[in-house]
């Protein structure tokens, strides 16, 4: 047998061995996009604590994670972040309003007449924005609603401020959860819940004070200023109270303790609870109405002692 023939046989034999080997080691290859791969990983991590921990570790070590931990997170406590987040919407409205009425129009006032509530613009009209050349506008005028003049416009600004505050505080909680591998889902849920309540309360109290300011003073810009200041200062008070009494920590601890404190097994839902809840609800409502009436009567009596002008 010539060397050439031997080589041919060898090649054929090698080819057959290779084909058999390939037949035995067949694998399926699935080509996924990045989004599909991440969703599968996410799904797997839901029931696999070790995988979730590894993923969190990887995220915290990523470039963005390192940036968050070393650059952004330390600077989050810079004094301009909190006030800007809580009062940015108000400050923007203040800027827009002052720009429109001009500094000479700072004494613009609100006048209530039998035909409606008017905003009387003060100052020389040439110094004002060209869009605001009149001297008297109804409080419900769309131009006034865009500015922070009059109580109607403050409602929109208050809602915007609350939303912005919640978005910023939730964003910080979320980023901290994503890039800090020591944070758990309980920290995230508890943190967002407490921050949203704080933001809501601060916005509500600020709006309440702005309403009272609108009743007390005729200067049109004062309620807007009151709302901006109180949104920030009430946010500060609530945060200080949270730190002092560890409200957020207690909420998170309670969330963590809930699954552990429940024993395993089947639970029977007691339907009578619904009727109890209804009873409690209606009695609370009645008590509220009774209290409201008694406070109202008390205030009337108190005011009547000074000057008896019933209304």
């Amino acid at each position: 047998m010539s060397a050439e023939l031997a080589a041919t046989f060898f090649n054929v034999g090698y080819g057959q061995t290779l084909a058999q080997s390939m037949d035995k080691n067949q694998v399926d290859v699935l080509v996924l996009t990045q989004g599909q791969y991440m969703s599968i990983l996410q799904d797997k991590a839901r029931n696999n604590a070790a995988l979730e921990f590894s993923l969190r570790k990887m995220l915290s070590k990523s470039t963005f994670g390192q940036y968050w931990q070393k650059e952004f997170s330390p600077n989050v406590s810079e004094p301009w972040v909190g006030p800007v987040a809580q009062g940015a919407n108000d400050l923007l409205a203040i800027g827009k309003t002052l720009n429109a009425i001009g500094m000479a129009g700072i004494s613009t006032y609100i006048k209530t007449t039998a035909t409606g509530t008017y905003i009387i613009i003060k100052g020389y009209s040439a110094k004002r924005s060209s869009a605001l050349q009149g001297t008297r506008y109804l409080a419900t005028n769309p131009k006034m609603l865009q500015l922070g003049l009059g109580m109607k416009s403050l409602q929109g600004i208050a809602k915007g401020g609350f939303m912005l505050g919640v978005v910023v505080s939730t964003g910080i909680e979320l980023m901290d959860f994503m890039f800090n591998d020591e944070k758990t889902m309980y920290d995230l849920v508890g943190g967002i819940g407490v921050e949203a309540v704080k933001g809501g309360l601060a916005g509500l109290v600020a709006y309440g004070f702005a309403t009272l300011a609108g009743l007390f003073t005729t200067v049109a810009v004062t309620p807007l200023f009151v709302m901006a200041v109180f949104a920030v200062v009430v946010g500060t008070v609530l945060n200080a109270a949270d730190n002092k009494w560890h409200i957020k920590k207690n909420v998170i601890d309670a969330l963590k303790a809930t699954p552990e404190s429940m024993s395993q097994g089947l639970y029977y839902i007691d339907k009578t609870v619904e009727s109890w809840a209804k009873e409690i609800g209606s009695s609370a409502e009645q008590t509220g109405v009774r209290m409201g009436k008694s406070i109202d009567q008390g205030v009337k009596d108190f005011l009547c002692r000074m000057t008896c002008r019933r209304y």
Partner: protein, 163 residues
């Protein structure tokens, strides 16, 4: 008359709101305005600075002047004191907006300039961080330990002094 009726209705919830918030602002002054100043004077190991707490005295005055003026208007008392209170109220509100703008623009620079000169180092690791509301400063960088409370830092300082 229409305004008087509105004021009387608003006082039902406004009076408790103003007084309860005045109480909270008073507490904030005692908790977050006076202590940092004292801590700076006595060079304490750790200082938590809440710059926006400086608005608390103004907010306290506003929350006291506002219900007083509203009660007078609800009587209705049209005398000179209502006008004086209104002027005082407007002045306080304008002043507090000015202070707010000043805090936002200068407090970060002031802190980063003066606190290191007083021997403090910024710490973003202590309990309740990260937060947008305050900045922690410690005298010794070794006391800046993740998740530890302000009491822990003070305890460390006491221990190091004893040793």
């Amino acid at each position: 008359m229409n305004n008087t009726r509105q004021i009387r209705k608003a006082l039902v919830w406004g009076l408790p709101l103003c007084l309860s918030m005045a109480f909270l602002f008073g507490w904030l002054i005692l908790d977050s305005v006076i202590p940092p100043i004292k801590q700076m004077i006595f060079s304490m190991p750790v200082i938590r600075i809440r710059p926006t707490a400086l608005l608390a005295p103004f907010a306290l005055l506003i929350s006291l002047v506002l219900p007083l003026g509203l009660v007078l208007k609800a009587i209705p008392y049209e005398g000179v004191w209502v006008k004086r209170l209104e002027a005082l109220f407007n002045f306080l509100v304008f002043l507090s907006v000015g202070v707010l703008c000043l805090i936002i623009s200068t407090s970060a620079l002031a802190q980063s300039r003066w606190m290191p000169r007083l021997g403090y180092v910024q710490c973003d690791q202590l309990q309740d961080q990260p937060s947008v509301w305050f900045t922690d400063w410690v005298r010794n960088p070794a006391w800046c330990v993740k998740g530890k409370s302000l009491e822990w830092v003070n305890e460390q300082a006491r221990t190091s002094v004893k040793n």
